[in-house]
Symmetry: D2
């Protein structure tokens, strides 16, 4: 009986959902618009619809806009990061309820397939990175989130939304792909190549494991200075092409225990593979568009480990605890704030990150 009521209710909601909302829509390379779209509704018993209260823009959104991600098609609402209030849930959703404040994970996970059962949510056979990619995303007034129980995280009362929205993607990415895969240990020497938001997320979370040194490498002196305030113990400018020599000098020729690639181009991968100590770990975080040359003629005997990973967001519950307990302060990444309605302007700013000294730009509803 309960279910037949739910069904009726659903029908009603669908009608009222004839109403529209505003959203940031991709219309092919270089073209984006803040325009009217139908407001999403629950389509499957495991869905939830969330009203966005805070969102942000990711470097990946810029790649999409350049046309680098052909799986994103004309008409797609962008965005895979967000915090919001649950508006409606499907009949099979129990652990999340209407009115809950939730964190939206950039990775949608069914919780049931073989990959999910192994904690490899990024490769979920019924999800993965789909928001703002193959289904509509979070840079909008509302978003439909499939597999809501395993893709949303209820937030504690009073949680700081700006801090929490950093846990949608950037913090778990830096932590899982960089720090966990790099197996950072107490006493280690760690180098992070790339002091952008992802590199800084790796820098913040590498400190969970108390490495002895964290060397930050970037072309941009401003970003390096920011890295110092986030806990880097050594700064190296790679502007002169001598980053490798400098790292080797710093380590007495030994190289580092962990090198984290947080840029996504051959040159930065090459720095990483050239500064690894025997037994070292190279954790790739960057999104690469081209192959790289792997120097196996040197590395074959070097006992190294190279890892890649699309973030699984399996670490999100732990990161939530760390923010709540005050041990992690991801809000420090926020440099600019806009109203959600100003998202076009927010993109302009974020698109000129170096000039604007932008790290993460916040989009706030009302």
């Amino acid at each position: 009986m309960k279910e037949s009521v739910a069904l009726l209710e659903r029908v009603t909601t669908e009608e009222s959902a004839a109403s529209t909302m505003k959203a940031l829509v991709y219309h092919g390379p270089g073209v984006r618009a803040w325009e009217d779209k139908p407001r999403p509704t629950v389509g499957s018993p495991t869905d939830a619809v969330v009203r966005i209260t805070t969102s942000t823009i990711c470097g990946t959104d810029l790649h999409i806009l350049k046309g680098d991600v052909p799986t994103v098609t004309d008409g797609r609402i962008l965005g895979h990061e967000g915090v919001g209030i649950v508006e409606e849930v499907g009949a099979a959703v129990a652990s999340v309820r209407k009115g809950d404040k939730v964190l939206i994970s950039c990775i949608t996970s069914c919780g049931k397939c073989d990959f999910c059962r192994k904690g490899m949510y990024s490769h979920c056979r019924n999800g993965g990175w789909i928001l703002g990619h193959t289904i509509d995303g979070t840079q909008a007034e509302y978003v439909r989130v499939p597999h809501a129980e395993t893709s949303l995280y209820p937030l504690p009362t009073g949680a700081d939304e700006e801090a929490m929205v950093m846990l949608s993607d950037i913090l778990p990415t830096g932590f899982e792909c960089g720090v966990l895969n790099g197996q950072v240990k107490p006493g280690d020497s760690v180098a992070i190549v790339g002091a952008g938001p992802i590199g800084l997320a790796a820098l913040m979370t590498a400190q969970f494991y108390s490495p002895a040194e964290i060397v930050m490498i970037d072309l941009d002196d401003n970003r390096l200075e920011v890295a110092r305030t986030f806990g880097a113990t050594k700064l190296i400018s790679s502007a002169d092409g001598k980053a490798v020599e400098k790292v080797l000098d710093l380590t007495g020729g030994a190289g580092v225990d962990v090198a984290i690639e947080a840029v996504g181009i051959p040159a930065t991968f090459d720095i990483c593979q050239s500064i690894l100590a025997p037994g070292g770990h190279l954790a790739n975080v960057g999104v690469h568009g081209k192959p790289v040359q792997l120097r196996l003629e040197k590395l074959w005997a070097h006992n190294v480990t190279i890892t890649t990973r699309l973030v699984d967001t399996a670490a999100t519950p732990m990161l939530l605890k760390m923010v709540t307990s005050g041990r992690l302060e991801p809000k420090k990444l926020v440099t600019h704030r806009f109203k959600l309605g100003e998202v076009m302007k927010a993109y302009d700013t974020f698109g000129k990150a170096a000039k604007e000294r932008a790290l993460k730009v916040i989009l706030q509803s009302t």
Copy 2:
């Protein structure tokens, strides 16, 4: 003072060593000779001198002879594999005694440096791969083994020398670099590219972990048939350039959990990186002379792990137990037998391995 006594003693010993022995000596690219060399003596308190009773030839010896390993200089006695009888030990050697039958590890390990303390003997600061490389080796009547207590393994009475000499290098290499680094688990699908002695050693030892499938890939049909008798469950000829498609077909498009590279050229590495399932492990065993192209534009989001390793021989005690208990039969790798004095002929045979259907050739004293 102590040191001057030690010095005197050493001089005396060296005199008595005026006696000579026969050895296989490298004289630059393409040139080798079976000739007289001074018989080695104990030079440091931690040395042992071993009379070789069984030795063998490694693919690496052929590389050296081609001039591919410039750190090997004219006059060097080759060989890094062997079983023999201890002739003499230094004053600080207690766990190995004159008359003991011992296995000589291809990796000399001091047991004291930071790398040794981590089990990374291959990078020992006072050893590593030095036999038949930077110091004289085992294709001789006698060999001096530094750091004897941590580089020799006493053999049980009645041990089969032909089986045991396979533990000097080839079995630990296949196991540590391929199987352990590849993290083979029960139920896994494993592909091994290269059915030479090292690939077969990986095949034998992968079975310690009960994978569901072991696919063997090689150009040579004869070697593939041999692989079947060693436990391969599927055979794939790569002669037509379609190995990748065949593996994907076999696995329903999923790819394999573990790919072991046991050749050392870009083409075989490329097969490995193309057949990995998400979350898969690529364990490089092959000795590479050139860089390879790593397809990061595909693999960055694939959650893969790529490892390299120079064998540490840390697994040797376990492998000894497995041979002794009859669970591992490395003797099956032996296809040809020669007297030590026929080593020149043995090289001829081993150098034409495909034609001669040679896997490992045994060199026996008397």
Copy 3:
């Protein structure tokens, strides 16, 4: 629209479900009956109803019957093992369909709670061991399985039901609690105390990791002989109270690397803690009704690890692969077969396991 049809259908099914079925019902200590019970129906969108084709009896069922498990109340249908055909699924169940042949896991797992996300399904906040415990079980013609997508495993066509039903509980229990927790490694010496079905399941699956020796210890010579046919390399009767001395003798005084407790009483735990080598692992599998004395005055400096575990059945997909590929033959555990309608007689036989030389008794629907 599809959904409203589904709803109608469900209502119809519920009506027809007024029909009854036969089931083995617990009526307080010592009292069981094969009697009529209402046939179960889908009660939540994530439920499935399965028609049982093969079931079996567990040692735990005997404990329940003795009154040892007070959380089982009068009127409960017993049984937590089974294979069957899906009759009906809830609206949110997609990966399992009507007509599928499935394995029923003894552990029901929601796939969504914090414990499930860590793979600790045994402690699922919405499931765990509930079948035949806090909800009705599988010794019946039909059973309702909550959280069907994460608690049922579709079986390959032609799968042997008798082999597969061993994967409901006993094989994952022996493997996860004994072998995985015991960290069995190639070359290890392993002792298993208790050669009943669970001990034999540990014995079968310990061989996935190629230990050098597996010593089986039991009071019953018949069971020890069975253990030999399952792969035990050494047999020790504990009937004379000298099991500890015998194990120490066998291992040259060293003790074993892994001791698996598969009985559940202080005496057998005590054997295990007394035969551990320094650095050894004691994996408790047995269900204990009393505390044990832990000899910390000896063990504090012994570098040992002691583990407990209620089976999570996280290994079930791997075990399914191993059975399908022929590397695991759990059917060997089956000693007796009965019709489901003869379950009262089957209990009589299983209740006198030693006398009847019974391991697992199969219950088959006609």
Copy 4:
């Protein structure tokens, strides 16, 4: 022959050692004296003799004095912690030289036996905890250290001896036995039972892994206040026998992820086993003189891991890096300082630790 030369030399050296030194000597239960003893000399090629510059007293020394450690016999010089200057080394010692300032590990390790090769130095077949136990120790002007290259750690110039001497035993013990074995992870809740020096060492090093909470439990309010300054986030007095209830209250009934036992009596072990969350780790650090009752009737299904360990000091190189880089400040443990010649008085103070508010007492050579 070599050996007879070595012997002669030894005799000569021993003669010159006719010179005496002062040492703290055990003369049976309750009896200790600061008296003349022969100055030790190099007896084996792998020995070193170290002149003590800083030492300290361990709780274990008090146990010995009470007669609790029967393997310590009349006439033994006590002490297994120290920093000093190398006076003389054996012929096989190369990595440590006369004049080096070194840290003496409480665990002597040969580096060659099977246990040492696994990093389990505590069970070294030619060493282990022998200093101040089965051979003469460090509460003396000089000490002979066997296996010097693998039992001494050269210190960086300018190293603070008081900080460094904490690395002889107490810091590696708290870290290895408590933190490493307890598998402390970012976000964990950790409870440490016992706020003495060892418990505080665990507290300091647990923070390497950024747990969310560290609850300190002790009877003594003064020690709890000290724990707060070392980083404890919650303090619980166990004086009222209600520690278990309080921990469960603090964790919302869930229990803790890691419980570290740092006392060594049944009551404190019992607290630990009663506050473990499912999946939790109980790391025993305390030295126990009696068995404890293990509540397997509850824990068998609780998926817990219990570990014991005699410190291996395998973590010493990492801890040295952490002190040198300023991330670890073990000097905070020092509450009292004495001249080495005042060691009798130092024992009096340390023996009344609670009253004197003593943690570690330093013994300095003039």
